[in-house]
Amino acid sequence: MDGFWPLLGDAIALILAWDPALIEIIGLSLRVSLAALVLACVIGFPLGAVVGAFRFPGRATLSLILNAFMGLPPVVVGLVVYLMLSATGPLGPLGLLYTPMAMIIAQTVLITPIVAALSAQVIAELNVEYDDTFTSMGVRRPSRIAALLWDARFSLLTVALAGFGRASAEVGAVMIVGGNINHATRVMTTAIALETSKGNLQFALALGVVLLTIALLVNGLVMSLRATATKTAYA
């Protein structure tokens, strides 16, 4: 086996050559993780806001469940989604197993609790600050939720980033429900696992470099947005 540095050189050469197989895998990975992130935010932000801002029966239990589910093992999520989508499962007739949609569903299930639980913390803090003012103004619940979500938008970006990080780095669930099928459901993490086991280390490392670069870029973007927001006192 070559040493690390020659391998890294080969990996970077692959990336710079815009290798079609590599690009296809990166493209699908981004599509799946971003779609899961959007769904998780659509569900998780309002859910987190309700848990963070209001008192209602069962709130503590819901909060406990969300926090516990933040650490859901991906393979367990994969297994449950597999059972739901398999031919004998309740969603079997939809024929989604081993499709990108199945992977999106699995990742959504995996990261929605993260997005919701972290949003709840952000919103709860902001609600403490706004509560008297909103109560005095007579702000109704839906408007209150919308206002809290909007005013917490820069903090929620960081929450979304945490969700994206978890989704894009996850391998167990997408492997089970996607099947790692070439040109169909192969994403960066499953491809890295496969190519490593095959000994195609340049390809695996190239995907690893891309994965890390995406994480760095997204983090950098969010950090700069937050810095701008802090400067304008919008964060």
């Binding site: 600050e129 706004y130 008297d132 003012t133 109560t135 005095s136 103004m137 007579g138 702000v139 109704r140 408007s143 206002a147 909007w150 005013d151 304008t232 006192a233 919008y234 964060a235």
Partner: protein, 257 residues
């Protein structure tokens, strides 16, 4: 309608139709009674100042009257009837430290207009007037939280007045402001009062009480110990606590009921 009489002495405050009244107001935590047997009457269109040392219960009284905290005893009446959620819609409050949304000045006001159900087509004119009244027109697009303390408090007053309240509560609205910024806020309050808005204000500042107030209530250890016209209460206080406070000898009020 009943009338509010703030003092039963020969120097009694002029009477006014009664807007709000509290009877036997009480607030008790698990181990402390912070307010006990407070009676207070707020006349329509009047300017009432609530005075007292730190810890006397002034801010708590405002919170109870405005419905931000729930009393453990007593009754609050609005125009003679038990106060309802609908009645609260005719009230607004300005806090000591304004809590402004993380948005621009105009967005803060637009939010209030939306909350108060002002029709979309009427909003631009209402916004322009509120900005002009608060002397913030030039700063309309600035992030609200980057304004100076005085500008932020003027924005908070303007936002509260967009509710078109009959009664405006003010909890030491200028305690952290310099004299110029204080005067600007007081101008807005005089303007609101001249339009018929009733003011109930907590203040530590005897000068401000004289400039803004007509009627006064002095709280000590969670009880009303003296009421009357501001000028009389400050120049010829009758209760020992009021006398001590006006002489600068009562700073903290930590008596436990």
């Amino acid at each position: 309608m009943r009338e509010a009489a703030f003092d039963l002495t020969p120097h009694a405050t002029p009477v006014a139709p009664l807007l709000m009244e509290a009877r036997g107001l009480r607030f008790k935590t698990r181990d402390r009674c912070l307010m006990d047997g407070v009676d207070i009457a707020v006349g329509q269109g009047r300017r009432l100042v609530i005075l007292g040392a730190n810890g006397a219960g002034k801010s708590l009284l405002l919170r109870l009257l405005h419905g931000l905290s729930r009393p453990t005893g007593g009754q609050i009446l609005w125009q003679g009837a038990p106060v309802t959620k609908a009645a609260r819609a005719h009230q607004a409050m300005v806090f000591q430290r304004p809590v402004l949304l993380r948005r621009s000045v105009s967005s803060n006001l637009t939010f209030a207009l939306r909350v108060h159900g002002v029709a979309r087509r009427a909003r631009p004119a209402a916004l322009a007037k509120a900005l002009a009244d608060a002397r913030l027109t030039q700063l309309a697009d600035r992030p609200a939280r980057l304004l100076s303390g005085g500008e932020q408090q003027r924005l908070a007053v303007a936002r509260a007045l967009l509710a078109d309240p009959q009664l405006l509560f003010l909890d030491e609205p200028t305690s952290h402001l310099d004299p110029g910024a204080t005067a600007a806020v007081e101008d807005m309050l005089h303007m609101a009062s001249s339009r018929g808005v009733t003011l109930v204000m907590v203040t530590h500042d005897a000068g401000q009480a004289r400039r803004l107030g007509q009627d006064a209530v002095f709280l000590h250890a969670g009880r009303v110990v003296e009421t009357g016209p501001v000028e009389r209460l400050l120049s010829a206080p009758r209760s020992p606590a009021t006398q001590a406070w006006t002489q600068g000898q009562l700073f903290f009020d930590d008596a436990i009921l």
